[in-house]
Amino acid sequence: MSTEKFNYFINGEKGKYEVIIGLEVHAQVLSSSKLFSGSSTKFGAKPNNQVSLIDSAFPGMLPVINEECVKQAVRTGLGLNAKINNFSVFDRKNYFYADLPQGYQISQYKNPIVGEGKVFLDMPYGSKEIGIERLHLEQDAGKSIHDMDPSNTYVDLNRSGIALMEIVSKPDLRSPDEVNAYIKKLRTIMRYLGTCDGNMQEGSLRADVNVSVRKLGDKKFGTRCEIKNVNSIKFMQMAIEYEASRQVEVLEEGKRIDQETRLFDTKKNETRSMRSKEDAHDYRYFPDPDLLPLKIEQKLVDDLKKSLPELPDNKKERFIKDYGLTSYEANVLVSEKEISDYYEEVAKLSDKKLAATWMMGDLFAMLNDKGFNITKSPISAKHFAELVKSIKSGEISGRIAKEVFEIMVESGDNPKKIIESKGMKQQSDPKELEKMINEILTKNKDKVDQYKAGKEKLFGFFVGQVMKLSGGKANPQLTNEILKKLLKG
């Protein structure tokens, strides 16, 4: 673990300021139908093609809870090391908007399904615990489309009624980097659990960001501003940086921060006031009389707990212990379940440490370059393991391995076949090598004399000659050894 120190502060003229951040993450529940209706939740359908009479709030329509969504919320709660509330209540949050058909959103206000929990972040300055305040279930609204027509607004209700989990953190985050790590950690946990696909482009993961600042050393929190509905980590980081600096400027001018809701303008990279606390909606929350309180049997919670997959924190520990990986390596390799699956398959068949090095090096670079997810990798885990094995056994050198790797990417072939058909096997026979080296030394007698006279830099020249003669296949380690031996003699 690095000894790097935390160092994210805003430097004002009157001192250093600490930035306090809390997130309300909205994560779309992975379920085939909506929270209170049977409509499909599939992304990308034609507008208003996945809308039932309930989603569009026709007279006399009633919500019925989707049990799968409840289970998903419980699983997520368990993944966040949180308390599951056996009794929770759905409330109505009342406000008018064209894409909110009922005129209220069904949410959970005083009694959420999941209570306090925690997640751990791996920061360069060590592990950091972030508290979870709560997780509750709620409905998503529809989408207003303002740019299809100059004078009309169109409404797409496909999203209306889709289940969201709102995950509220404690104000424990202190920098944009921590926010980045936190969102990624939540995403990883939920993807392991299969409770949210974490797809930010499709809006499956969004966040409201609460930011405040205080003089370093102060114990009291400053007044916070909430930045609404930010849909990428990059924008969250930009918004926080802008907002924290803005607040410091306001304070340094001797003014007060107004508690308000702000919007982040991604084009201008600034936050703007949306509404002040005085203008804040009065949502008139009250328990939804159409729904009974949600009672969850402890047995269900226990059963779900037993059926949870291994989670990233545990897997990381195991990778360090069983595979001898560093904390950093383990962290990277458990960041996505699919990556860890791939790694484990490779590690089972080849050298665990070398496999990690090569995955995090060449394989990730190639995937990144091609914009592929690991599940779309042109190199199968089996083939990749073969390659690692060939490197480990000395059959091919690292340099040749890179060439083989390139060919594997292009052809998808087994590395064994490539090495054999192209004669890329490393020359590791000491006798053969000695013969070759003697030949070179004889040919370059003058240089041998110079070397012996003290010009040791020439060693590299001899290695180069061996590689040239062998077509790059000479085993570098053996070459070094033999060369040293013969030059001495």
């Binding site: 009479l53 026709f58 007279p59 006399g60 009633l62 019925v64 008018f96 009922q102 159409d290």
Partner: protein, 452 residues
């Protein structure tokens, strides 16, 4: 048709379709059903597939559902068919049917008399023989009070016995559909047909269906009936007291043991009701915004103005009044003092009943504090109008079944009703008591068909 002109009971008639259905039935009669070939008109709060459903409001003036409410579907599945949609107070908010956008309904008992509300079209049509039986909804007395005003039988079942799916919502935790009939036997048949578990309504009770009509039994000897001392109000006409006494005597003669009981929180029932019901209504009615269906104002330059104009043109005064009250009691700063407190009192009212039902089988009270009043008599005095629900709202707040029975008339000859409140899901018992009472009461509704 003449009746329609004078009584204004129907908002929509489906006579032609009904005639077709009747002929269909005649060509292949099947009497093994609860409601074989029976034409029924229903309150216009039940959504009917392909038939305009207005809830008595301008805002749903053009609304034609593509679905059938569970309760009406149950009736059709038992052999009945639709005769038309009956007038009612706008969104069932009213006690005289005077808040309907489609005009006042007249009580066949007498010209210029209200038929009660909100199921006023239902009570009027029933009493005038325009439908052999009907269904209404009861949030605070909307079945029982009109039944009382027209000399008919009205039952509000246990909350959750009849599905609310497809019924235009007023106050979700109180709304319950129920039968309105000429006699107890019909009431039992109708209840049997319309009730039952519905997985589409989360508040529906999952239990085996009861055969109310088959199990109807007039032997009520030995039952204990509670007489609550709190069901007396200031300025209550003497006739109501006399009616109550008459009822007690009839039951006593049938071998029932009368027991004086106390329901101490009854006095808080009306204010509690007028907080809970408007609160839920203010939220339930938010969906009528002109965006997806129903009336939309052509005025207004942006979304907010469209909402404002649509809702101020689409809703009547009483609905607006209740939305305002409901919005107020849910507002931050007032929520605890009104809504939360009302919920607590509601629990106390329920507890009163629970405690007494360990001692008695049912409770007998008057249905209303007066007989039918004149049109316009109370329209400018909402509180006096609200007071009409004083005996009926406790059963809604407690979720209990309650039956209004015709029991006599006042000196003007206007009918009066008595109310039997039962234990939760004990409909059979109050129907049985009502059955025995009906046979021994000798009440006959004498309506001259003056509108013909």
């Amino acid at each position: 048709m003449k009746a329609q002109k004078k009584l204004n009971t129907f908002v929509t008639t489906t006579f032609e379709q009904a005639l077709k259905k009747a002929k269909q039935f005649d060509s292949k009669p099947n009497f093994n059903q609860l409601l074989p070939g029976i034409p029924l008109a229903v309150k216009d709060l039940f959504c009917t597939d392909g038939i305009k459903t207005t809830a008595g409001s301008n805002i749903l003036n053009n609304f034609v559902p593509s679905y059938e409410s569970t309760v009406t579907k149950n009736l059709w599945n038992n052999g009945a068919f639709l005769l038309g949609k009956l007038n009612c107070d706008e969104f069932a908010m009213g006690s005289s049917n005077e808040t309907s956008y489609y005009g006042n309904v007249i009580n066949p008992i007498g010209d210029k008399l209200v038929p009660g509300g909100s199921s006023g079209g239902s009570s009027s049509a029933l009493a005038a023989d325009l439908t052999p039986a009907t269904i209404g909804t009861d949030t605070g007395g909307s079945i029982r009070q009109p039944a009382s005003f027209t000399g008919t039988v009205g039952l509000k079942p246990t909350y959750g016995l009849c599905s609310r799916w497809g019924i235009v919502a007023f106050a979700s935790s109180l709304d319950q559909a129920g039968p309105m009939t000429k006699n107890i036997t019909d009431c039992a048949i109708m209840l049997e047909a319309m009730s039952g578990f519905d997985e589409k309504d989360s508040t529906s009770i999952n239990r085996k269906k009861e055969l109310y009509s088959r199990n109807l039994n007039d032997n009520i000897k030995g039952l204990k009936i509670g007489i609550p001392k709190e069901y007396r109000v200031d300025k209550m006409p003497k006739e109501i007291d006399e009616l109550w006494e008459k009822g007690k005597k009839i039951l006593k003669n049938l071998g029932v043991q009368l027991i004086d009981i106390s329901l101490p929180h009854t006095k808080y029932a009306l204010p509690t009701y007028y907080i809970v019901a408007p609160a839920e209504a203010s939220s339930n009615l938010a969906r009528y915004d002109g965006v997806r269906y129903g009336y939309r104002s052509q005025k207004g330059k942006d979304l907010i103005e469209m909402y404002e104009n649509t809702r101020s043109e689409g809703f009547g005064d009483e609905v607006k009044r209740r939305i305002l009250i409901g919005t107020y009691v849910l507002s931050s700063g007032y929520y605890d003092a009104y809504y939360l407190k009302a919920q607590k009192v509601r629990q106390l009212i329920k507890k009163d009943f629970d405690e007494n039902f360990s001692k008695v089988d049912a409770i007998l009270t008057p249905s209303t504090p007066s007989s039918a009043f004149k049109i316009g008599e109370k329209t400018n005095d909402p509180v006096s109008m609200y007071l009409n629900d004083i005996f009926t709202v406790p059963a809604n707040l407690a979720g209990l079944p309650a039956l209004s029975l015709p029991a006599g008339s006042d000196k003007k000859g206007y009918p009066l009703g008595l109310q039997l409140i039962g234990k939760s899901l004990d409909e059979q018992k109050i129907l049985n008591i009502g059955y025995a009472f009906e046979k021994n009461c000798g009440f006959k509704n004498e309506i001259k068909k003056w509108w013909l």
